[in-house]
């Protein structure tokens, strides 16, 4: 069954109304097409209105929609010849981050991303997209390989955060993320990052330092999840909606604050309503960027990337 959020109820209501009118028309053989057309017009309007004015918390819900396309979906839709590569060559293969070499619009690229899983079994297998240090170290291994062979890196960010566990701490979760931040900032190939769903804190930016960083229209990206923010600042889980507003975590907020390079529009109603269209939008942008970024000499590329992140922050002097 399709997941419908509270704020989508007016849409569901209209759809039901149209359905009813159609049934009546069928039964009574009365032409009711005018009514149906009118309702459909209203439906279209309502949809546009709702999805263009989602609150922070509603965006968070959209970003977590169970049918929302994930990294492997996008790889399958926009890449050819994907060869998945496993393991950090040290501890194990982390299933919460996937990666491999593929063809994208004629270019060989290294694609890396969080994978949350689609059903209960998959989600457990993928640890809900919450990586351990091995995931970040696998990602780094693949990025270094890309650098060695001069291939651009494309990352898909979609995580509730890096996994907070005993073994994660023992094996240096913090060090793994920190190392990636440092290495990605000076990687000698183009890096393009796309927040496709959730971008929560260190676990997100751990594969999120790029020449170009985009957010899908209904994704979110911040330093903490609204729930945890609520729990810490309000000492209660009840302020997640307020926290989502305060954090300014939407793509629009992030773009207007100069913290991302662009917003990729989603199909009406969200990426899950038309994954193919979403995938095309992503592919077009990535191909355009690969061409533009590949034409820069390496020194300029890296300097501009460092400069971009170093200009972020607001201080008073």
């Amino acid at each position: 069954m399709e997941t419908t959020f509270d704020f989508e109820k007016p849409i569901a209501d209209l759809l039901m109304q149209i359905e009813k009118v159609n049934q009546v028309a069928e039964k009574t053989k009365v032409d009711m097409s005018a009514t149906v057309t009118e309702l459909q017009g209203k439906l279209e309007e309502t949809r546009k209105e709702i999805y263009s004015s989602l609150s922070g918390w509603q965006k968070v819900q959209m970003a977590r929609h169970p049918d929302r396309p994930q990294t492997l979906d996008y790889i399958q839709m926009i890449c050819d010849e994907f060869v998945e590569l496993h393991g950090d060559r040290n501890v194990r293969d982390d299933k919460a981050i996937v990666g491999g070499l593929a063809k994208l619009g004629g270019h060989s690229v290294m694609v890396i991303g969080h994978q949350k899983g689609k059903n209960t079994k998959e989600r457990q297998f993928r640890n809900f997209g919450m990586a351990n240090p091995e995931g970040y170290r696998k990602a780094l291994r693949l990025m270094r390989m890309a650098e060695k062979f001069g291939k651009p890196v494309v990352t898909f960010v979609d995580t509730m955060g890096a996994y907070p566990g005993i073994e994660a701490e023992e094996r240096g979760q913090a060090e793994a993320i920190a190392r990636n931040l440092l290495e990605m900032s000076v990687l000698k190939v183009p890096v393009i990052c796309i927040i496709i769903g959730e971008g929560a804190s260190g676990g997100a930016i751990g594969i999120g330092v790029g020449d170009k960083v985009y957010m899908l229209e209904h994704s979110w990206y911040s330093v903490i999840s609204p729930e945890s923010c609520s729990s810490i600042l309000w000492r209660s889980w009840d302020y997640k909606e307020k926290a989502a507003e305060c954090l300014k975590l939407t793509a629009e907020n992030m773009y207007s604050n100069g913290l991302i390079d662009g917003i990729l529009p989603e199909p009406l109603g969200g990426a899950h309503q038309n994954p193919t269209q979403m995938a095309e939008t992503i592919k077009d942008q990535v191909v355009k960027d690969i061409l533009a970024l590949s034409s820069k000499d390496v020194k300029t590329l890296v300097n501009e990337r460092i400069e971009k992140f170093c200009s972020m922050g607001v201080v008073v002097e």
């Binding site: 804190s201 930016i205 903490i224 307020k242 992140f309 922050g313």
Partner: protein, 280 residues
Amino acid sequence: MAWFKRDRAGINTATENKKEAPDGLWNKCPSCKKPLLKSEQIENKYVCQYCGYHLRIGSAEYFSVLFDDNQFTELFGNLRSADPLNFEDTKKYTERIAESYAKTGLNDAIRCGHGKIEGLDLVIACMDFTFIGGSMGSVVGEKIARSIDYCIEHRLPFLLISKSGGARMMEAAFSLMQMAKTSAKLALLGEAKLPYISLLTDPTTGGVTASYAMLGDINIAEPGALIGFAGPRVIKETIKKDLPKGFQTAEFVLEHGFLDFIIDRRKMKYKIATFLKNIL
């Protein structure tokens, strides 16, 4: 990625424990509860002379412990926080900052100084936990970035003393980006072949650990310091199990290979200077 309160002794510079004695100010050691005279504290580098407990101190004390004759030039001291997101939780961010100015006399959660350690020039950046839990926002990121630029320009080694609950939530994604910013600058410091020592003190967690604190040419820590990525409470809630004894202490982190050594504050200056003289 947030600061948190620890129930354990020593989290607060408990003002109620601060007493005026006939021969001067004294505190109770949070660990062994014995009274420590202010003069004794200074003499012992703020380490309890009875049980070795390292009192939680700020940048002023660390500078006095490390810089020769406590002489240094403060760098970028005028930088202060803005409120780019108009953040308000139970209190306005601007109010929180104003209160912290009044309470601590500091301009933000980090101070940077250029001075000498046993005759050797270096820059020390030191976080202050008393300023909004030592949280890392734009000012912390910017002062670290500028300190590194300064080190590269003047060919100086860099020592950063971390003491933080992580990123500053009231600057949300701006805080998050300071992780990338400081790490990128450290990459440049590395390319300039200038040494970076990261000293982790109690506590160092969240986005601070997951960026500059773990990126030293050497990472060192004070005994008993809490060091981790996720806070213990978050981990406990996630795994629904009690945490092993000594989990996320400096000793634990050393054992797992992420620290080069643990150093008693009373021997810290000599050991850091020795390392720097050998590597330069």
